[in-house]
């Protein structure tokens, strides 16, 4: 009895301290467990993506971004038709105001409200969870899903999280600990706040996922299957709630090289050696000015993978003006596009571009011009021959098929080039953008669910590109559309959304 009393007396101060801290943080409104960034990083139905806005009945606030200022504030439901946008960073860049204005113009007797729930890095797995919760909380009339670029980015992150929390009991304990305000306040103190990006480009992601997450073809297939199932689940969920669904195929840059090429296991070591010799020979023969930055020509000449922020779309007008004064630069000439993408360039003001954008576009300009000297033509022919022989040895190696496509284009055989560029996308074992496989899955799922309306953005933008080759005129990097292209895509969504709204 004396011992039990001693134990109780020993623990009592700790308990009182904890209760005191919890009450203090409650009174100060700090460390609310309902408002914490989920430890599961959104990969869990229990993560609460929407919380009621305090003091505004019927209003909601998202909690899915790292910084509070990025969260989406949703007003109470009114007589306007509510349209929600779901997707990754591409969707995040869509202008809800633009789509709203286009919808209002298309149906003047009706008012629309467009809410963008796009989240950089999100793929179909978390979009499905977000969508499920949004259908209940926000009661939309129509949802638009534009996803497919991030399936492997998201999978890589999920794998990284799984590595981080190897022991399930530790993970469970941490989830329990997040119910304490004291722990949440401590976490808030320990989490390094991202530096505000008043000047200069946003920081790079901490790691390139492709470096840590690269799959083999049989594994790749699992993620495609999961993508299909997630889209099907989105169809079922929207149907159950009587909400209209627009499914979009996604637009990718066909000149962005594959990320993870792999030889088929049947290619012998000796064949691989011969392959490597041919691969290098093609690089020696092809004129550098035509492909520099598009492919890896050596350790010191890697492919330049542009990032959307290098086009500086969100540069302040004052900064843009300053840059214009300092070094006015003209955009390299690329290809004219077909209506409705013809006319003014779709990109941002070149004065704001980072130098690397000019580096890539200079090459792309020369690549499309195909203005070759006789010696260069000979070099391209030699490179083409070497690449063909390499592909004959290892037909599944995405990078070689991609390079073959480039050489065919330079040699004037655009049809064969487009075919090989498509093929190389599909052979990529860990792609960082949508491709024909993901887009075919979207088409397949839309066909299975007649209540869903398909916007085949991929097909539309191919039709609008010379010879069906979608490139840097439309896409900033591997998958993010230029502002002008986004405006046109919003116009593509309008009839599909209107079709789903009652007259």
């Amino acid at each position: 009895m004396r011992f039990l009393r001693a134990v109780l007396f020993s623990v009592l101060p700790l308990l009182l301290l904890l209760v005191g801290l919890e009450l203090l943080f409650w009174a100060l409104g700090m460390g609310d467990p309902q408002q914490q960034l989920s430890l599961t990083r959104g990969f869990d139905d229990r993560a609460r993506y929407f919380v009621p806005e305090q003091g505004r009945p019927g209003a909601w606030r998202t909690q899915m971004f790292d910084q509070p200022k990025d969260e989406v504030h949703v007003p109470p439901r009114d007589d306007r038709k509510r349209v929600l946008l779901f997707g990754g960073s591409n969707c995040r860049l869509f202008s809800a105001d633009d789509l709203q204005a286009q919808l209002d113009a298309a149906a003047p007797g009706r008012r629309h409200e467009v809410i963008n729930l796009g989240r950089p890095g999100y793929g179909s797995e978390r979009e499905l969870i977000l969508l499920r919760q949004a259908l209940v909380a926000l009661e939309p009339d129509v949802v638009v899903v534009y996803c497919g670029h991030n399936e492997f980015v998201e999978a890589g992150f999920a794998s990284e999280l799984a590595q981080e929390w190897k022991e399930p009991w530790v993970h469970r304990a941490a989830l329990l600990a997040q119910r304490l305000r004291t722990i949440n306040v401590l976490v808030g103190l320990l989490r390094a706040e991202p530096t505000p990006t008043a000047d200069g480009p946003p920081p790079e992601p901490r790691v390139e996922r492709s470096e840590t997450f690269s799959l083999y073809p049989e594994q790749t297939q699992i993620y495609y299957d999961q993508y299909r199932e997630n889209l099907r689940a989105m169809c079922r969920e929207t149907e159950r709630h009587g909400t209209g669904l627009v499914l979009g195929t996604v637009v990718g840059n066909m000149l962005s090289p594959p990320v993870v090429p792999r030889h088929n296991a049947s290619v012998s070591a000796e064949a691989r050696r011969e392959f490597n010799i041919l691969h290098e020979k093609a690089h020696e023969l092809v004129p550098e000015r035509l492909v520099k930055g598009l492919i890896r020509l050596g350790a010191d000449r890697p492919p330049l993978r542009l990032h959307w922020h290098e086009w500086n779309e969100h540069l302040l007008q004052s900064d843009l003006y300053e840059r214009k004064q300092q070094s006015p630069r003209e955009a390299p000439v690329l290809r004219p596009l077909l209506p409705p993408l013809d006319g003014a360039p779709l990109w941002t003001d070149p004065a704001g571009w980072e130098p690397v954008v000019f580096d890539v576009l200079s090459t792309v300009s020369a690549f499309h011009a195909r203005d070759l000297t006789p010696e260069e033509r000979e070099g391209v022919a030699g490179a083409l021959d070497a690449a063909r022989r390499a592909v004959a040895i290892s037909p599944d190696y995405a990078l070689e098929v991609f390079e073959l496509g480039l050489y065919e284009y330079l040699a004037g055989d655009t049809a064969a080039a487009v075919e090989h560029l498509h093929e190389s996308e599909n052979l990529d074992c860990t792609p960082n953008r949508g491709n024909d496989i993901t887009n075919d899955i979207v088409r397949e799922v839309a066909a299975e669910h007649p209540q869903a309306v398909l916007v085949d953005a991929d097909a539309l933008f191919q039709q609008r590109s010379p010879e069906g080759l979608v490139g840097y005129e439309i896409v900033m990097d591997n998958c993010h559309l230029h502002p002008g292209a986004r405006h046109v895509l919003m116009a593509d969504f309008v009839p599909a959304i209107e079709k789903l709204l009652p007259p």
Partner: protein, 46 residues
């Protein structure tokens, strides 16, 4: 109550130690939660 106060006065280590251990554990758990990797592409749009 007076028994508790007497205990706290005479056995300081017995109640300080649990607080110190709990604080260490809380710090460790909080650090573990705080160091969970962020979503890729978590940079802010300006």
């Amino acid at each position: 109550m007076s028994a508790l106060l007497t205990f706290l006065r005479t056995h300081k280590l017995a109640w300080i130690l649990p607080i110190v251990v709990a604080a260490l554990i809380a710090g460790l758990v909080a650090w573990r939660i705080a160091s969970t990797p962020d979503n890729p592409f978590d940079y802010t749009l300006r």
